[in-house]
């Protein structure tokens, strides 16, 4: 058994880390939160150094990459790039959908600008009545010749107001069965009838806006259908195992950063005449944080490796999603406890992590969805 990354993966990681360290500092990240502006300069630096074309089709100048490499990239961008991970996670997720279902023209339209430092596609799936139950969408369309008219309302759409395209799901109003009526569309956000607003979010100001999308008689040519018409639901299900795995790279990176901050702080902070790291109650937290971070890393890359080896990850990806999301919350909470007031007052990044990590247990499949969709699978073996 060999846990090492390949030479190429190690060199890519070194190179990406160097690019991030040179392009974005903690002060830049803080400024992006204060001004709620996405750090486009650093994003373009990633593009200039070719990191956004990893995983894109070779025909477009992309470089093929397996899931392990994509998870590694997502982990590094989350670890060193702060909000850059917001765009990258959307980019990696939707790139796969475009590759699997998109026409060459659609790939060129969306990915062409993306790999040169443009915006990814935001996800337009969640609705007020369709969260975990993505088949319950009410946004619908009617066909009129070679175009469709879409009406509806989406919400909780990460960064939609900052992206040029949204990957939208809508159902054909003429078909009753929700599993057979859903169609995916590539929606340019400047299409007439599209209105996108930002919603307040836990933690306050952020360069990664959470949005609401209103669709009022939006006309789209049928050439903007992604994949097959009425095949939206199976398309939605095809890549979600990979998407959840890539999303957990962010949980690992944030937990690891929080742990590192807390460990370093515990050696500096002196109370009662000695560093607090000499107290066994603090050492217990350090030990548990480190253990959880390593378990997250092991689970995450094992699932990525299983996907690359075409193994069944129905159970494993859900265990990984649940564990990483929960362990990240535990680690960040412990880190904040070690850091005390520093984690409550001021502008330390642990404050951002504390707020942002909570969403990991809800987005991309909630804790409860992971359990109820997986426990029966586990029990089938007995």
């Amino acid at each position: 058994m060999d846990f090492r990354f390949t030479d190429e993966q190690q060199l890519l990681a070194e190179s990406l880390k160097e690019c991030l360290v040179r392009s974005i500092t903690e002060a830049d990240i803080q400024k992006s939160y204060e001004t709620e502006t996405f750090p486009m300069d650093a994003w373009k630096a990633l593009a200039e150094n070719g990191f956004l074309s990893i995983g894109a089709p070779e025909s477009m100048g992309g470089v093929p990459a397996d899931v392990t490499t994509q998870v590694l990239i997502a982990y590094l961008v989350n670890k060193y790039g702060g909000p850059l991970a917001g765009f990258l996670t959307l980019g990696l997720t939707t790139m796969r959908d475009l590759e699997d279902f998109g026409t060459p023209e659609q790939q060129e339209m969306v990915l062409g600008q993306y790999i040169e430092g443009g915006t990814p596609m935001a996800l337009g799936m969640s609705e007020p009545n369709a969260g975990s139950d993505s088949s319950g969408i009410q946004t619908s369309y009617v066909s009129q010749g070679d175009k469709v008219i879409i009406n509806g309302h989406k919400h909780y759409n990460s960064m939609a107001s900052q992206c040029d395209y949204v990957l939208l799901t809508a159902k054909d109003a003429a078909i009753r069965n929700p599993y057979k009526s859903m169609t995916m569309f590539i929606l340019p956000t400047n299409t007439p009838g599209v209105r996108i607003t930002d919603l307040p979010k836990l933690g306050g100001k952020s360069p990664m806006h959470i949005c609401e999308i209103f669709l009022d008689n939006v006309e789209l040519p049928k050439s903007y259908i992604l994949g097959k018409e009425h095949n939206g639901f199976p398309q939605l299900m095809k890549n979600f195992e990979i998407e959840r795995t890539v999303a957990m790279a962010g949980a690992l990176a944030v937990a690891e950063n929080a742990f590192e901050d807390a460990a370093a702080y515990s050696k500096q902070r002196v109370q009662f005449g000695r560093p607090i790291c000499e107290n066994q109650l603090i050492q217990e937290k350090i030990f548990h944080m480190k253990m959880k971070v390593e378990l997250m890393r092991n689970m995450l890359f094992k699932v990525a490796w299983m996907i690359d080896n075409k193994m069944d990850v129905r159970v494993d990806h859900a265990l990984c999603k649940y564990y990483c999301a929960n362990a990240a919350n535990e680690v960040v909470d412990d880190a904040l406890q070690v850091m005390g007031g520093v984690g409550l007052v001021g502008n330390h990044r642990i404050m951002r992590y504390f707020c942002e990590t909570r969403s990991q247990r809800i987005g991309a499949g909630s804790d409860q969805v992971m359990i109820f969709s997986t426990a029966p699978q586990i029990l089938m073996d007995f």
Binding site: L11, E18, N49, I54
Partner: protein, 259 residues
């Protein structure tokens, strides 16, 4: 004619362990220091601008067999590598290294410029490049802060000094050592990393290379003992403070020669 660039594998300083004043590199990862990576980039830019091939050259121990190290250097603009591996060259001093390098570049041949870095990341003696030029009987100039091009058989270069910038025309063949701020080291792109494994690496026959030139011998590398700060405050006029400091140094036995 090709351009050669020399670099050294050495233990990563962040992996070095210190215990009881002794330095332990057993667990350290070996890599190429930032000063050498900058030299590679400066040479790669010149090679690209002048349409020449760039050959990376290194002499050292079995660490040079590491495939990640090789691909790393080949992803940074080197067209090929020529390496001399002999355990007698592990942590060799500057003279032994320069003698082995001189023999290696002579065997490689077909070059008119050798680029070296400012110094190695571990010992930073800044001697190897200068000795290499001397051994080859070539002009050698260090402190080069810009490589501007090659016209005919002349290298156009610059050297920053305290009094201004020297604009140099260096007759080739020559050896130059570039400063650590001549440029930024490269961020290799994914494509370069993937292609690196397909570029040629030549292991020169160590039998033909002198690897045991007599030089200095490092017996021990140790850290000085740390001493508690004395926390003495001096006060008075500048002259009085100067006298107090001298008296203090004398009292501590730190002025063995006396005043």
């Amino acid at each position: 004619m090709d351009i050669l660039v020399c670099f050294k594998l050495s233990p990563d300083s962040k992996d070095i362990l210190v215990s009881n004043g002794a330095i332990n590199t057993d667990r350290a990862e070996w890599n190429v220091g930032e000063y050498d990576l900058v030299a590679v980039e400066a040479a790669a830019q010149l090679a690209a601008a002048t349409g020449r091939k760039l050959i990376g050259v290194s002499v050292g121990g079995s660490q040079l067999a590491n495939t990640r190290f090789r691909k790393n250097m080949l992803s940074r603009g080197c067209d090929s590598l020529s390496l001399v591996m002999n355990d007698a060259l592990v942590q060799a001093d500057t003279h032994k290294t320069a003698v082995a390098l001189a023999a290696a570049v002579t065997e490689i041949g077909n070059y008119d410029l050798i680029v070296c870095g400012e110094g190695s990341q571990d010992l930073y003696f800044r001697q190897t490049g200068i000795q290499l030029g001397e051994l080859l009987g070539l002009p050698v100039i260090n402190g080069i802060s810009a490589l501007n091009g090659i016209e005919g058989s002349v290298l156009l270069a610059e050297r920053s000094t305290d009094s201004g910038i020297e604009v140099l025309e260096i007759p080739l063949p020559a050896v130059v050592c570039v400063t650590s701020d001549i440029c930024q080291s490269r961020i290799p792109k994914m494509k370069d990393i993937l292609q690196a494994g397909r570029k040629p690496v030549k292991e020169l026959d160590a039998a033909g290379i002198p690897c045991d030139a007599t030089g200095s011998e490092i017996i021990k590398v140790a850290l000085p003992k740390s001493v508690q700060r004395k926390a003495v405050n001096f006060s008075g006029t500048p002259e009085e403070i100067a006298d107090q400091i001298v008296a203090m140094l004398a009292k501590e036995g730190l002025m063995p020669g006396g005043m």
